[in-house]
């Protein structure tokens, strides 16, 4: 009698377990994204959105993650940090997402951190500012290279070429300004002296005045432009117009064929730090990034009929890191997923090989950047 009872209760328990297991399996993994799809950063936000949607779609067709479908909710913050914070709140409170991927700009990311970090929701930012992960915040990670890394890469190349007196020209918006500040910070470490410091607005039609000032500054050996979008293209064209001969370096903000298309012949000889994605074909066959970036590039260009952008790559990396963490954790429990993201090690992405730790929530080092020169309208890998 007792044996039967035990058997019966075991059976019931077993059924309950099975039912709850399948119930959990049917529960979708919810990913929330707030991106600057419109507004001054739409040039970055739009590819990010398209990439997330495309890959979530594809993965769902392949069965999702751990048999669970992925549910992606995307909101457009228009580049406004306070809107981003509201949408982050909406994603967390109303849409009950398990993880946040987004924050196209440093401003929107920093505003959202104020929501995500106290709420205990893992947040993978797609913005460049080093402040996002320095100081490290428990729940906040990021995929793009920091602006400091870009400056370091450029300065180390300049040092190699014996260029030590550098003129800085940057845009007065988020990316350019923080790049400017980081450049000033790390220049001394490479023996670089900043001898001129000019600023322009992202929508300025002409920067010859600033470049003339730089041209007339004594001893300038190289020029470093920090910005993205149309500004750097105008800087480059004006640079050629004025007949400036010192080498021109750009930041990773222009690491897309769009820059070459806009700047035209003027871009010849310009150097910039670029992620492997940009020079996929030129990577050594043994480079672990090669298969990943080649595949991503092909998929993106086929699906959207436009040049792949590194910003899209960052979104792709964010998604993959998140899903890999969920896979390893075996659950979408926020704390466990956070721990797994932090343990990401040797993930080969479009931006580089990512190995995070408790003190490094980005996981890339300088080797993730290749120095690239524009030759005859195409990229040429310099290192």
């Amino acid at each position: 009698m007792r044996g039967l009872k035990t058997l019966a209760s075991l059976a019931v328990a077993g059924c309950a377990l099975a039912v709850s297991w399948t119930a959990q399996a049917a529960d979708p993994v919810k990913i929330g994204a707030f991106l600057s799809v419109t507004g001054p950063a739409s040039f970055l936000g739009e590819p990010e959105k398209k990439t997330l949607e495309m890959y979530v779609d594809r993965l769902n067709k392949q069965g999702g993650v751990q048999g669970r479908k992925i549910e992606l909710t995307v909101y457009d913050d228009g580049g406004a940090p306070d809107k981003a914070a509201t949408f982050a709140k909406r994603l967390i409170q109303s849409d009950n997402v398990d993880i946040l991927i987004g924050g196209t700009t440093t401003g929107t990311s920093m505003a959202a951190i104020k929501i995500a970090d106290p709420a205990g929701v893992p947040f993978i930012s797609l913005a460049g500012g080093i402040d996002i992960v320095d100081p490290v915040k428990k729940w906040v990670f990021k995929t793009p290279h920091t602006d400091r890394m870009a400056a370091e890469k450029v300065f180390s190349d300049m040092k190699k070429r014996g260029l030590t007196k550098v003129a800085l020209i940057s845009e007065n918006a988020g990316f350019g300004k923080s790049g400017h500040d980081q450049s000033l910070l790390v220049a001394p470490q490479y023996g670089i002296e900043i001898v001129a410091d000019e600023v322009y607005s992202p929508k300025d039609p002409d920067v010859t005045a600033q470049l003339t000032k730089i041209k007339n500054t004594a001893g300038v050996q190289a020029i470093f432009n920090f910005g993205f979008g149309q500004g750097p293209a105008i800087v480059t064209k004006n640079y050629k117009q004025l007949g400036i001969t010192q080498p021109l370096y750009q930041s990773h903000g222009v690491a897309s064929k769009d820059f070459i298309r806009l700047a035209g012949d003027a871009s010849e000889g310009v150097r910039l730090p670029a992620a492997g994605l940009v020079i996929a074909e030129q990577l050594a066959a043994t480079d672990p990034q090669k298969p990943v970036v080649t595949a991503f590039k092909k998929d993106y260009e086929a699906a959207f009929k436009s040049e792949v952008s590194t910003f899209a790559g960052h979104a792709y990396d964010g998604l993959q890191i998140a899903l890999a963490a969920i896979q390893r954790a075996g659950t979408s429990d926020k704390a466990k997923v956070r721990d797994e993201i932090e343990k990401t090690s040797g993930y080969v992405g479009t931006g580089g090989i990512v190995s995070m730790s408790a003190t490094d929530h980005m996981g890339l080092n300088l080797s993730a950047f290749h120095m690239v020169e524009i030759v005859k309208g195409d990229w040429k890998m310099v290192d």
Binding site: G39, P40, N172, P205, T208, A209, Q210, A233, Q241, G264
Partner: protein, 290 residues
């Protein structure tokens, strides 16, 4: 010396762009006392349409004509469907309507086209012209030339054609003009079409220099408004002078004072002028009826 000249060239290049924008504001204001904040979008549509059409393989002249026609259509539609139904409303209300229109047009542009930056090949090449140690791009000459041609054409139109004079009459005194048999509605329609055309032309000549994208209208609208007000509303020549002043102030400010504050310097100058000349540089003194 070469340095000053280069700054002047820079200022004249951006100034001519702002001047064209300001002129568009002035024309509509003249006919209706309305400030059309969607003027910047006319410029954007002209540039975007031309750039995307040429990128699709359409030869430049045809693309230009198509872009001008499209922009004029948008201008006329704006007047017919948004401004005319509200003709008796408060000035501030109409401003809000045109702002709504500019948001709408921007939203439409991002759907119809895309969010990327577009360029046009410069019309006569990219070899810089050297003058006394400073350089100027041929495209800048196009912008000056087109601005001058536009002003000349408009001057002729307003002073030597019947309809142009009718438009001027309407701006002086709408009621009297109506009593004299002038079709005021038609005047308004033509003013929007003309401003749209001017905007489109501006966008087309400027795109080879400054590129274009769906948001290009915002800054141009702002600078155009500043130019028009500085010059004195209702005065086309004033708008052009205003635009050139803003451009030169920015360039000289960037060159001699601080490039971070160049835009602020231009605004300070505008405020200064308005303080001493409350109707702008060439504006008519308003008459307060008791």
């Amino acid at each position: 010396m070469a340095e000053l000249l280069q700054y002047l060239f820079a200022g004249l290049t951006s100034g001519a762009i702002y001047a064209l924008a300001g002129l568009g504001f002035a024309i509509i204001y003249n006919a209706s006392h309305v400030i059309n904040f969607a003027q910047g979008e006319f410029i954007m549509i002209g540039g975007m349409a031309t750039a995307t059409l040429t990128a699709a393989g359409v030869p430049l002249p045809a693309a230009i004509l198509a872009a001008m026609a499209l922009t004029m259509l948008v201008g006329v539609a704006l007047e017919k469907f948004a401004i005319e139904p509200a003709r008796n409303a408060d000035v501030v209300t109409i401003i809000i309507i045109t702002i709504g229109a500019s948001i709408f047009l921007r939203g439409a542009a991002q759907v119809v086209w895309d969010k990327e930056f577009h360029a046009l090949a410069p019309f006569s090449g990219e070899t810089p012209i050297r003058i006394l140690g400073a350089t100027l791009m041929p495209q800048s000459l196009w912008v000056f030339g087109v601005s001058m041609a536009a002003i000349a054409a408009l001057w002729w139109f307003f002073n030597h054609t019947l309809f142009g004079k009718a438009m001027l009459a309407t701006s002086f005194n709408r009621l009297a003009a109506q009593l004299m048999g002038i079709g005021v509605k038609k005047v308004l329609l033509v003013s929007f079409a003309l401003s749209a055309l001017l905007g489109a032309v501006g966008g087309i000549v400027v795109t080879p220099i400054a590129f274009t994208n769906y948001e290009a209208g915002i800054m141009l609208g702002l600078k155009g408004f500043s130019a028009a007000v500085l010059g004195g509303l209702g005065n086309g020549m004033g708008a052009v002078v205003g635009g050139l002043i803003v451009g030169i102030a920015e360039a000289l400010g960037a060159g001699y004072v601080s490039s971070a504050y160049k835009d602020a310097i231009a605004f300070v100058i505008i405020l200064f002028v308005l303080f001493f000349m409350p109707n702008g540089l060439f504006g008519k003194k308003g008459v307060d009826r008791v």
